[in-house]
Symmetry: D3
């Protein structure tokens, strides 16, 4: 199982999950559309600059990025593909994006927040426990089967967990072109560089040894 | 086929389609959530009033409204169920909603606009032609298979058409809790009361007889 | 009357009407002003880039575009001039625009929507019937004389019709720098390329011959 | 000229001018419309509560408030009528309003700001000098004739002045349902209660006698 | 030091810290002000209803809530007082709030996010290390002395840590009337009810014993 | 006292006060951050363009601009330093900014408005009278001591005045990256070029001599 050691796996997940995201209340568009000129990495304003109108074609409003084959051979037993502005430039200024998530039995989308979006989940197959924690400390959760939907209010801590015996699949929508994904554990224990041990130990009320142990998983 | 005469059928469709909707850039929430107190029909502010916080439960963030059995025995060969604030009060202030649409082979979601949302479509099965017209008169369209996505910018005229030989199904997301649905033909030719013939004749550059003929379909 | 055949006429109207528009809730400005650098056609972000501050003059906040002589020798008996960001670059980021519309007796601003704005109409002379259809199918309408005002909520289908015996003139305001104009009939039956006949026939519950007939008016 | 003594006149102007207004970037509506339930004075949320949908009629989208006869027999030689949410409840949530202003030759709309709107002015008759001062101290101004338009960016100090020999009339649009009007002189020197003399003296770099003299005009 | 056992202490902190908050982009006000009618707990719309205009007094725009004596005799060595809409009803609709934080030497504001606001920190005394992690995993941090400022973009994970030898104090501003506070550790390990062990174990890549150990600190 | 003649002094104040500002409801960010590429003066869109992501460092989120030594040897007995997007490029798109103001005994921040922000004031030392005038002419005011806060709703006319016997200091927060500052007296009587005397005389109901006298202070 060396190939799926957490540290390495997380790196593998990064392209599809760490940069995930979901945004909630982007500004309104002030033209019909503004297809982003360049792929992810060339942000130049609050959003992207627009491709010249005359160069826009039907393909700019289409994406097959969610059809990617998703392997779940990793620590979380989960994988995702994204149709947000990074992979679907036509979404620029439109305030919406989607993702497709596959979970093995027992697989988990680790606890996380989206800084810029509410998220609505539609289960296409399987049995999923999903829950979130509000700012008053209350935990809300539900088990969903195929065809059912759940909503995570913007910025709150949430997760999904496959409690069934088969693969589970969900289609996720966000009200932002780039919702952002903050996976709590890797953000806290695996950032570059890392947050000082003392801060984490005090935040989690544990000793530094426990901190170092968790950090070693996300190195 | 008297049961599926257009006029009657449209009335049948009304509960699920005419009031459809999809919204695009609702104001940001200013609390974690604000579950709507009452079902559709009791709008009292820009959105709904909130259920008292202590009365909110996990079920408020969950909906099974999209699992409804959808019959397509009507003029359009299409039907839809909605998970928007009318049917899912927990969406109030969250700026997002969803719908599930089923289309027979040859079935069509008639040309329409959403006054308050961009729309993103995920095809779960079948083969669908979808297109929209921008304000400069350009028509953009694409045929989508399972797993592919398309986006309709806010307020533009669009449709979906099942060009395959089997049933097609799509999951639709909107960036509004209540996007609104304006089906062009029934809005123009079947409103209550109706738009004067002369206005429609001049708008479509046809004679009144043609207007009356179309009106008779949406009476 | 060949000169005023609908097909040709529509092309003539295009510069002033098809691209009309009106927007509703643009993002707030985050500086005093941001005069657009270039004329319409050079959109480069969500809105336009700004002219350097030092180059801005009083003329940038002024426009005479609404004083244009408007001929109404066309199928609709109507014409319009616009003071939106395309013709008045100083409006960039300010969230407002205007138009001036002239209608012959019997003239009609054909049924249309504005994807990005609510519209408020002030009648300066004449007698105008104006109406709109809401998403629940209800039709609201009123006859207005000089000095009276009417409002069309964002994205709803509406029209204006001169029911008087003299020329009518209206001043129109939109809460967007570029509201967008979707004239229903030409968008549906005269786009480039055109929407497939079968989709239109199914949307309007008419046969293809009727579709082709209407298409021929907007070719 | 006792009837037009400034103090008294200002009180007369209050109903039509002091509460004037113009708003710039209201939140988007999240339903078709939300007609305000009560007249001005019963604000109960961020905006007004909505009249029940079933009670809404065509008249709710119409107003004749701008047709009021306007007398200009006052210190400023100006008067105005308003079509904002105070007088036109149907504008609630729609983000737009209008006013009609009449100015005698030599009449002036005194220097003022609108806290919540950009303003666009259309001159229907006469010759008007209008100007504004930006936050960097630059003054922009222009003389406008009939049919010409000018724009005042949100929150900046501006005025209008009839430089012609005849009555001037303008139609004004704001991108807010309630833009707010802060007339500089009466706000500074005529508030209830008044700003302390020392503050005004130091703000305007004048002695208290000058302050008291100006205050006496707006008592 | 039994009184400062983490579990108990956290409960003590709750009134001042767990419900902290900071919001980022509330909707614009559409009247001068809308003083909230009731204290925290009576949310009834997206924000609060307004006190009648005539009942508003100068005191409604004033708060002494930040002057509260703050004891830091707890596990974190930190305490805070808040001037947000819960304690300062006049902030309703105004999109801004503040807090005052006191940290013992070695004290830490534990890692947390604000779902609805960017946060700007002004250090009034002491020496503070503050840092945040972006959604791409990068960690940004800085040590600040008196008079210096730092900004945490909306929704990102951040903390403050007193690295000096004396008490540190900071004044914090948020661009929301109710930014919300999600302390990562208590939200994850101390919610009511708690998130299932298996989900936390899989999220942090640790065994259940470690999870239970951390949970015991936040019971 | 030639050095503190009002005219000269105002010029001296300009860099720190005239361009002050505070903004209230900027659009939401649609990425984690967008550090402005250039210093003030190179505005190119609604806000600034973003520095490439890879070039962003911890220093971009930090500013020491508020630590500047502030001399109050001028007509107003006041000075200020700013941490807004002009001096702190990392604030771009984040919708927040701060300032620090020092007032001599008897010193006054002259009456002014912020076109784009609500403002919240925290008094760190001294005794300050602060007040504002609403659009209905009502004046609200309060004397604040250390640790107390006051709020000025967006766009309303307000001032601060040191009524104590010692220096007063305040930390100010705005919900905009660039709120804008319109000092009433210099904007009205000291713009470049100046507003015509007749307009000012009619606005303040004074004679031209008084106007010229005030103008001479702000020449």
């Amino acid at each position: 199982m060396e190939k799926s050691s957490p540290c390495i796996l997380f790196l593998l997940l990064v392209p599809s999950i760490l940069f995930s995201l979901a945004s909630a209340a982007d500004a309104d568009p002030i033209q019909d559309f503004c297809v982003a000129t360049h792929p992810y990495g060339s942000l130049t304003t609050n959003g992207y600059l627009c491709k010249p109108n005359a160069a826009v074609t039907s393909d700019d409003f289409f994406s097959s990025s969610l059809t990617a084959e998703l392997t779940t051979d990793n620590s979380y037993g989960v994988n995702a593909s994204f149709a947000d502005v990074r992979f679907f430039p036509g979404l620029n200024t439109l305030g919406i994006s989607m993702a497709r998530v596959v979970l093995d039995p027992g697989g988990v989308v680790p606890a996380h927040t989206h800084p810029r979006a509410s998220e609505m989940v539609f289960v296409t197959e399987g049995l999923l426990l999903m829950g979130f924690v509000a700012t008053d400390g209350r935990y809300f959760s539900k088990v969903l089967g195929a065809g059912e939907v759940f909503v995570f209010p913007r910025g709150l801590m949430h997760f999904q967990y496959n409690v069934g015996t088969k693969k589970a699949v969900e289609i996720v929508a966000y009200n932002s072109q780039l919702p952002g994904l903050l996976l709590a554990a890797p953000a806290l224990f695996g950032s570059t560089p890392t947050i000082p041990d003392v801060v984490l130990a005090k935040s989690f009320l544990v000793d530094r040894k426990t901190v170092d142990n968790i950090k070693s998983k996300f190195g």
